[in-house]
């Protein structure tokens, strides 16, 4: 069994960050996780975001959340990125695209227009 000592070390490292988070995350990534999303491949997408946020030490500034069906099942997996009053909706997301979204949009500040719902509907 992986040691609880390691978990304690995580706790000690995290405690400072938790205080920062109470000021509110700058960006929020939301993954659609209803039956439609799950069947279309949302689970590895969610897990990719979690791992990237941990790896890049973005806890506190970026939040990852889940939501239910938003009625556009044919576009799943759907991911929305919220920042202030701006919302970007990505469709047909897979783990590779999720990594790219973290790199270019979350870290780099540039939404990837070609993966958005706006691009698909043109």
């Amino acid at each position: 069994m992986k040691s609880l000592e390691e978990l304690k070390a995580i706790r000690d490292r995290m405690q400072n960050k938790v205080i920062i988070r109470e000021g509110g995350a700058e960006k929020r990534i939301v993954v659609g996780m209803a039956t439609c999303g799950i069947a279309a491949g949302a689970r590895p997408v969610l897990n990719t975001f979690v791992e990237e946020i941990a790896k890049r030490n973005l806890t506190g500034t970026v939040e990852v959340g889940q939501t239910g069906c938003i009625g556009m099942c044919r576009f799943e997996p759907i991911v929305e990125v919220f920042e202030g009053d701006q919302r970007v909706t990505y469709i047909y997301v897979d783990p590779a695209k999720a990594k790219e979204i973290v790199e270019k949009h979350i870290v780099g500040g540039q939404p990837i227009v070609e993966y958005t719902i706006g691009a698909a509907e043109k």
Partner: protein, 183 residues
């Protein structure tokens, strides 16, 4: 669904939406069979809703009138010669012992058995999405027992959220370690 673990994720989401505070996911596996139980202490279902809950045209969701979660699990179990049983006690009539138990039984050697797949990712996804819910995950296989109880982790973590990415990575590694190679 390509993996049973995806059905598990989907069904356990129902528990969370039913205001459960504690959800148990129990897998009991032999060489030939797999029994899955998802047990919650949520608000339960009325007898009337329970009687039609595996009908795809019954759903609690509000964006449309079709719910595929339980029908898909029922199909996955029955196509192996197994079965699905749902028991529920509604909060209104059972204020102290309400909740729902979904039990599915599978024959693993049947041609139409859907493999369990990446159950670790299912557990991580559930913990990620519901900070206020505790989970007990227990998978007994021939010669092996894999277990995770978030109540134990919370005790260590104090005010640090269970859903912190760093904690989720620890949970994944802990489960991977318990399964050992080949999982």
């Amino acid at each position: 669904m390509k993996e049973l673990s995806l059905n598990i994720l989907d069904i356990a989401q129902n528990s969370i939406h039913a205001d459960a505070t504690f959800v148990q996911i129990l897998l009991d596996e032999t060489d030939r069979t797999l029994e899955l139980a998802i047990i919650d202490d949520g608000k339960g279902m009325s007898e009337e809703f329970l009687s039609r809950v595996t009908d795809p045209f019954s759903t609690t969701r509000t964006t449309r009138k079709v719910g595929m979660g339980l029908p898909l699990l029922k199909l996955a179990a029955e196509q192996t010669g197994g079965s699905l049983v749902i028991e529920s006690r509604e909060r209104a009539s059972h204020p102290f012992d309400h909740g729902t138990r979904v039990t599915a039984f599978f024959y693993k050697d049947h041609l139409d058995f859907t493999p369990l797949g990446d159950v670790i990712s299912t557990v991580v996804s559930l913990v990620q999405g519901s900070e206020n819910v505790d989970f007990l995950f227990r998978h007994s296989l021939p010669g092996k027992l894999v277990e995770l109880d978030t109540r134990d982790l919370r005790e260590v973590l104090g005010e640090v959220p269970l859903s912190s990415p760093e904690v989720l990575v620890w949970i994944r590694e802990s489960l991977e370690e318990q399964y050992g190679e080949g999982e």
